[in-house]
Symmetry: C2
Subunit: 349 residues, 2 copies
């Protein structure tokens, strides 16, 4: 019941018979301490299994050497790569990373921001999808001068840096590629038409159609049936599978499909094959992200590669710069995507 009190620096000091400050100096390797004293202190530290209280230290030092990262969905290669790259960059600089996941809920988004801000992290990287309530709260936190960088999320604030892959032109290129292959009826799976302003990939698709005077058929845009109240989530295999099924049952089915991401594309492929149709002859498919999976689908998936690690790395660097110098002006970086053409759109010769 009664939690055993943790050993404190003062306990060590008392045991060794020195001032707490001397112990602090030993722990932090600074200031002058004689070898004899140092040894005695270290011995006591070991004996009592002492562990510095980071909370107290942080309170005194007014910084935590910790950065928060808010992800919408952990089961997403994009999130994973971002997190891994952010972590690597931070580790080099001696920062810790705490990750919070919001499960694509505005409420959880906010609670993640709050809990990180409350723990006095030195900065926050936000890589969740934009939503109104979340943006408002984020703006308030940014107002209070906590360094923030957003990744791939629509958000504008004077003191918040922004980094993203160019999803718009990625979506454009993917669709353009299908148009170049003479497809006229091209479907989009993974979002609803209403998402066109927040989902750049869909917007890119629409713009490509428009650029070639292909009329948009709303039946060729499909995603989750129910629109969640707050934030659209990640699109999955099932969504791809079901979306494709709907397309195949149309009187005039699409001959090509642009899926919002590779998982959705894989689901769509399953549906096509189940219907006894072939890829790409009957239906050509393009994914997005170039995940590890894309090489291992049958046939290998044409997809748009976005620089994930680079986004994470740059986000970390931008944040650290802002932590070091909070007077820096807003920076915005949009990174190029690359269309990777494989056999789900073009027959190998």
């Amino acid at each position: 019941m009664a939690k055993k009190r943790q050993t404190t620096l003062t306990d060590i000091a008392a045991r060794v018979g020195v001032a707490p400050m001397t112990v602090s100096r030993v722990i932090n390797h600074n200031g002058y301490v004689s070898d004899g004293t140092r040894e005695k202190v270290l011995e006591a530290v070991k004996d009592l299994n002492y562990r510095p209280n980071g909370v107290a230290r942080n309170l005194k030092r007014q910084r935590t050497e910790t950065v928060g990262l808010v992800l919408g969905d952990i089961s997403n290669p994009y999130s994973a790569e971002i997190a891994s790259a952010v972590r690597d960059s931070l580790t080099i600089r001696g920062y810790n990373l705490f990750i919070c996941i919001s499960e694509h809920s505005a409420r959880e988004d906010i609670s993640a921001f709050e809990s990180l801000a409350d723990h006095n992290v030195d900065g926050i990287i936000v890589a969740t999808r934009a939503n109104k309530e979340g943006n408002e709260r984020l703006a308030r936190i940014a107002d209070s001068d906590l360094p923030i960088v957003v990744v791939g999320r629509d958000f504008h604030h004077d003191q918040v840096d922004y980094i993203s892959a160019d999803n718009l032109s990625g979506g454009f290129e993917a669709t353009q590629h299908l148009i170049d292959l003479r497809h006229k009826r091209i479907g989009f799976i993974g979002a609803a038409y209403e998402d066109r302003h927040t989902l750049k990939r869909l917007e890119g698709y629409l713009r490509a159609l428009d650029a070639h005077d292909i009329e948009v058929d709303p039946r060729l845009i499909t995603g989750r049936k129910e629109s969640a109240w707050d934030v659209p989530g990640y699109s999955t295999e099932s969504i791809g599978y079901e979306g494709m099924k709907r397309f195949l049952s149309l009187p005039n089915r699409p001959t090509a499909v642009f899926a919002r991401n590779d998982f959705t594309a894989v689901g769509a492929m399953t549906a096509v094959k189940e219907a006894g149709l072939s890829i790409p002859q009957d239906v050509a498919i393009v994914g997005f992200d170039d995940t590890a999976l894309a090489l291992h689908t049958i046939p290998p998936l044409t997809t748009v590669r976005q620089p994930m690690r680079l986004q994470g790395q740059l986000a970390a660097e931008m944040l650290l710069r802002r932590i070091d110098d909070d007077s820096s002006t807003r920076e915005e970086r949009i990174l190029d995507c690359e269309l990777i053409i494989r056999e789900s759109t073009v027959v190998k010769n």
Copy 2:
């Protein structure tokens, strides 16, 4: 340069002309405060964009209402499900979750433990793979009475609860299934023979072979070529693909393969199909985890389902119990797995 000082509770108190304690009472909704005072305080809070300093609060309260979760690899559905379930259970109880990723390095494992312990989290859930240095450090942290629960990781300590899926019998059943189908040459992809003591799935495979007097052929066990110095990582599509390629080039190739997880199985399937062989007629394949992917492979993948969310949920509950009552005795729970038979091993009739 000079970071603007955060507004503190004392600033609010000074502005309103009350004692800091009164502001504290307003913020925390406890104690007696008159409506008039409360309103004035809340107004000042809003005006000054005040945000309570969690570090100071934690120091005083001696608890953080935060739990740490250490994951080996974020890009792993297992990790993702665990994290999501843990988070859900904690959120209900008002706890925050901070996730650290160790990238399967013992050093990073340790640094995650330390950084969480230093931040005075109220407990830690560890779901990384076991390693010697990490275990030692974990034991020291457990010695200092910080509540800890390990998930799917070999670790024994009087005050540390343990939860895992029954990977041993899962591996056994998967292999048994292949043996029942009259396979004699059964390969394992995803780990090296040396891992047999730490990797229960491999051990289950070996025991099943042994139970049916099938001799173990070391060439039929393959994983990453170089054995990392510290912790074996997650097994991927590429490992499955390359492992299967090696198998197929053997003079006496296996007729069935048990892959350490679904991703590895998918890679193996690609290699089989590339070689012009069919599944399951030429090579039967079993995966592990029953990820979303398994339904969408061609043919659908036979795999072992482990209760991921349940593990996360129970881990959270065990930890909270231990946080509430640190005198509780060690608890160990091993959850059943379930073999899901699909068409990668059995032809649909």
